[in-house]
């Protein structure tokens, strides 16, 4: 981005403040839900959905991923694939468990 885009930046600042307020609200929601004593699976699903929404907001707006160049998207797509492989490796271990 160039320095001449000062007006655009002022608009961005309003978006940043909205994102900030949303992040705080989602934090309060996720903490409140954790006291509801949900069973393990729904609790994990709800907490991870809220965390993913919060993470997406940070990545999209604070890290400007919503308007980035293709090269960065390409690197992140590759990272996502390997990240998912890493996360699902434990499932392989679960299926391999000796009873």
């Amino acid at each position: 981005m160039e320095l001449s885009h000062a007006e655009d930046i002022k608009k961005h600042v309003r978006v940043y403040i909205s994102v900030f307020a949303t992040l705080l609200a989602l934090t309060i929601i996720t903490v409140t839900i954790s006291y509801f004593n949900l069973s393990v699976v729904p609790a994990i699903i709800v907490a991870l959905i809220i965390a993913s929404v919060k993470g997406s907001l940070v990545a999209s707006y604070f890290m400007h991923l919503i308007s980035e160049k293709k090269m960065i998207y390409a690197a992140l797509c590759l990272t996502t694939v390997f990240f998912l492989v890493l996360i699902f490796i434990p499932l392989l271990a679960m299926s391999d468990r000796i009873h």
Binding site: Y16, G55, F62, I72, L76
Partner: protein, 194 residues
């Protein structure tokens, strides 16, 4: 030797080198923390029992708010440079560093309490993974604070000679800081709430 593409985008990537560099670094960081999250899942599904709400949730909620606030002050410091307001930049960047200190102070009290009551890594698998993940995250916070302090202090001299390059530097430092915030956003529910 002059570092190429610090202001103008490199034609083939469409990016300044520092930005591509930080994103590649952050990709490697995703794998680092990903490995730990993967280990956490493995340990948890294999555990006979897993503690619930044994950590200080209110304190960690405050710390989450502190990090989120530091993220907005970080992005505001960059936005201030984009609008050529150096005074505001100093204020927002200074606040970001200060919030980093607040985060570390709260973490210090948390750790002290755990150690005091014998909740050390050797106590259980839960505390082992808790200290590993939050400890590594804390090191990242400290690293970010060192970089941010440099750009707040001696590094900010560049604003007078090469303002665009300095703005890009702050943006790149911001990307790292937001990533640290992002990791905490997942660590918080995983370790404290579930």
């Amino acid at each position: 030797m002059e570092i190429p593409y610090t202001i103008k985008a490199r034609p083939d990537t469409g990016l300044i080198n520092a930005k591509l560099g930080i994103w590649l670094f952050l990709s490697s960081e995703v794998m680092l923390f990903g490995a730990l999250f993967s280990s956490y899942i493995l340990l948890r599904v294999g555990a006979v029992e897993w503690p619930h709400h044994v950590l200080d949730v209110p304190l960690a909620t405050v710390n989450t708010a502190v990090l989120i606030t530091s993220s907005i002050t970080m992005v505001m410091s960059w936005a201030s440079l984009m609008t050529k307001d150096f005074r505001k930049y100093k204020m927002y960047m200074g606040t970001t560093i200060l919030l980093g200190f607040v985060f570390l102070t709260i973490k210090y009290f948390e750790y002290s309490h755990h150690i005091e009551v014998g909740e050390i890594p050797s106590k259980s698998t839960f505390f082992a993974i808790y200290f590993t993940m939050t400890g590594l995250h804390m090191l990242h916070v400290i690293g970010g604070m060192i970089v941010n302090s440099y750009f707040w202090g001696p590094g900010s001299k560049m604003w007078k000679t090469e303002p665009e390059r300095f703005t890009n530097r702050v943006e790149v430092a911001g990307l790292y800081w937001h990533f640290v915030d992002l990791v905490w956003i997942f660590l918080f529910p995983v370790l404290y709430l579930l």
